[in-house]
């Protein structure tokens, strides 16, 4: 059957900062208001609201979705929160997409918020509670620790050096220097800076990792007949995909994210993409760690397995390269308020495909982009394909 077409018609975001004075509700409000203003809509024209926000333990607020409802414009409206860990930021617009594609609603507000700074002394403490209470928590693992294992495995499998991977961090932090909302943009950073930064859990060093961040992002989705009426440049959601691998992450080979590949195949099939390397002009893969961008580019089938580092070294993924990757500056540069960071990537595609990305604009009028997020126990992939 033919699906109802859904477009993104507006986007807004707060600055991404280390410690926001605003509450989570206020951050949500700021992004929501901006998104509505960019497409000249008011709240009473919005049919429904969807929200994405990662662990409740960051804020110590139970039923955090309920708490954030009014800040996100959901007062007396249909409202749900969706949740796939770190993959939430790209899943939330997918959740919004089927609200509209189902025919139940015409205009859907998509809001993602994260306030990590309320978790003291450090949000890694909250991450202790994501592990299996019987088999893993007694080992007191944290995320840096398990991602260091994955990075090690990736480097070992393909014979990669730290220098190959640090290039990603340098590229993204330099790109972020052009983003008005970025936390860690740095036009002068070098590979040596990354390699000389403190070791957190070998081979992960401080500048290999995205920062703890507060922020919010919002999008407005509209059904085709509304989008064509209210927007000169709607950006269409062409494909959506998501996939969850087993809980038992210790049983799988960490060198390749097969769940990302499955999510990508689902989204590409829906978008009619048969040759992603030719048909996708711009990519925003999830980059909470620099090796993750490479890992995900391979999972998205944009490069052969183990070949993304080489492409990075050749400059293919630079903003003016053949396949610009994370022209926004990504999580490494703009910041990583988890759910909001994923939605920031989708917002970046919106701005890039409309030619409104300012100093970050990719040359050559890109027509189609892919954004992806990842999360849970190295377990979930969420993918969205958008076209101008």
């Amino acid at each position: 059957m033919s699906m109802r077409k859904v477009a993104v018609v507006g986007a807004g975001m707060t600055k991404f900062v280390r410690r926001a004075q605003e509450t989570g509700k206020e951050l949500s409000f700021e992004a929501t208001k901006m998104a509505l203003e960019t497409c000249d809509l008011t709240l009473d024209q919005v049919d429904c609201v969807v929200h994405g926000t990662a662990p409740d333990s960051f804020d110590g607020v139970h039923m955090k979705g309920e708490y954030l409802a009014d800040g996100s414009g959901a007062w007396r409206k249909p409202y749900t929160r969706c949740y796939v860990g770190g993959g939430t930021g790209v899943f939330t617009p997918i959740h919004g997409w089927y609200h509209v594609a189902s025919g139940l609603f015409d205009i859907c507000l998509v809001v993602c918020e994260e306030k990590m700074s309320s978790c003291q002394p450090h949000p890694q403490g909250a991450f202790l509670t994501i592990f299996d209470h019987t088999t893993e928590r007694p080992l007191e693992p944290n995320l840096l620790w398990i991602f260091a294992m994955e990075m090690n495995r990736y480097m070992h499998t393909y014979g990669l050096k730290k220098e190959d991977i640090a290039l990603v961090s340098v590229k993204n932090k330099r790109n972020a220097a052009d983003h008005p909302c970025s936390l860690l943009g740095d036009p002068d950073i070098t590979v040596e800076d990354v390699l000389n930064s403190p070791v957190l859990a070998w081979p992960v060093q401080r500048l290999d990792v995205s920062p703890v961040t507060d922020g919010a992002v919002a999008l407005v989705l509209a059904a085709e007949h509304v989008a064509r009426r209210i927007s000169d440049k709607p950006v269409w959601i062409e494909g959506v995909g998501w996939n969850l691998d087993t809980t038992y992450w210790t049983n799988r080979d960490l060198c390749y994210p097969r769940y990302v590949e499955k999510a990508a195949r689902m989204a590409y099939d829906m978008a009619g993409i048969t040759e992603p390397r030719k048909q996708i002009h711009i990519a925003e893969p999830y980059d909470p760690f620099d090796y993750k961008e490479l890992h995900h580019l391979e999972g998205l089938m944009l490069f052969d397995r183990g070949k993304a580092p080489e492409a990075t070294a050749l400059g293919i993924t630079q903003r003016d390269g053949d396949l610009p990757v994370c022209p926004s500056g990504g999580l490494l540069g703009v910041g990583n308020p988890i759910a909001a960071a994923g939605l920031m990537k989708v917002a970046e595609l919106f701005w890039q495909l409309r030619g409104e990305a300012g100093g970050r604009q990719v040359p050559g009028q890109p027509k189609r982009g892919v954004a992806q997020a990842w999360g849970d126990l190295m377990q979930v992939g969420t993918v969205i394909v958008m076209g101008a």
Partner: protein, 394 residues
Amino acid sequence: MTRNVAIVGIGYTSYRPLSPEVSYKELMYEAAVKAYEDAGLDPRRDVESFVTVAEDFIEGTSIFDEYVPDQIGGLLKPNVTIPGEGIHGLATAYMQIASGLFDIVAVEAHSKASNVLTLPYITAYAMDPVLNRPLRANPVFIAGMEMNRYLWATGATREQCAQVVVKNKRNALYNPTASYGASLELEEVLNSEPIAYPLSQQDISAHADGAIVLVLAASGVAERLSDVPIWIRGLGWCNDAPSLETRAWGRAIYAEEAGKHAYRMAGIRNPMEEIDFAEIDDAYSYKELQHLEALGFCQFGEAGMFTEEGVTDVGGYLPVNVSGGSLGNGHLLDASGLRAVVDVVLQLRGEAGALQLPDVETGLAFGWRGVPSTSGAAVVLSGPGRRNQGGGER
């Protein structure tokens, strides 16, 4: 144009106060196996997407989404967790099918309430951390305040609320999955221990453990899978204000709006005439009355009298919570709404055993997320002969 969607498989455990011999994963597995057997499906081959319903703090695990795929057959498939009411999860599965993305989707919700040793303290963390939490109000106290306001605004009485308890617990005596069936006198409810006036102990649903899995399928597929597909004719959900000081006390606006949306979609103009029976949230006795009014079965303030006159009894004009509701089955936290859906499906299939109502064609299930939320969801279901014509209208 919206595709029609039906419930073609149901699986559920019994609902009981303790389940020390099984983990939440085993509860989910039991319900999942039963649901796939009921629908005649192999989940790994046939089910295209999985929706689970859970809240981190209740599970005691952050990012609980991590722990769902293996035991429901969802490995390496699309899975998402909805931290909401079970019926929000059902709505998510519905939209995934109605959009044309999938033909067969499973939705799961569970309660392992017996593992939660400090529930009131956890619920307290759901209150606004700046403005409300410093009041150190016990969640049941908030329900008590709301009940007080409701009784004051409507003129309903504590006796009428107690009548809900007597009715639902009596109904539960005939339900093999319910744990809290009892034959009570009105006086026993009224004289039970006061918890937060006017709420007394018997007015409050006790918790239960259990899991529910439903399988949904698109029209075309549903008729092939089931002789008795139960059609989802209308869905609605809504949030009122989360803060205590800005919400409507007394009225359940979230239920009014959810009901309106569901009825509009189902083409229902007069719920009392067009809906044969209802399973609606009764986490506290007064909530059944408040929700009955909000869902348009009677005017604001009339539900108490209705109940007193026996309209909502098993033999009444609108039987409500024939299964025993949450008061009789035990409150299943966010799985409560799906428990209500299962009981509606059983009635419409004619499989409700000793609880079976005669000649029922259309039923309503409504779930509320509990204190301190103002979040609820409604679904209108009809038996095999009554799908929406030409797709649901908006």
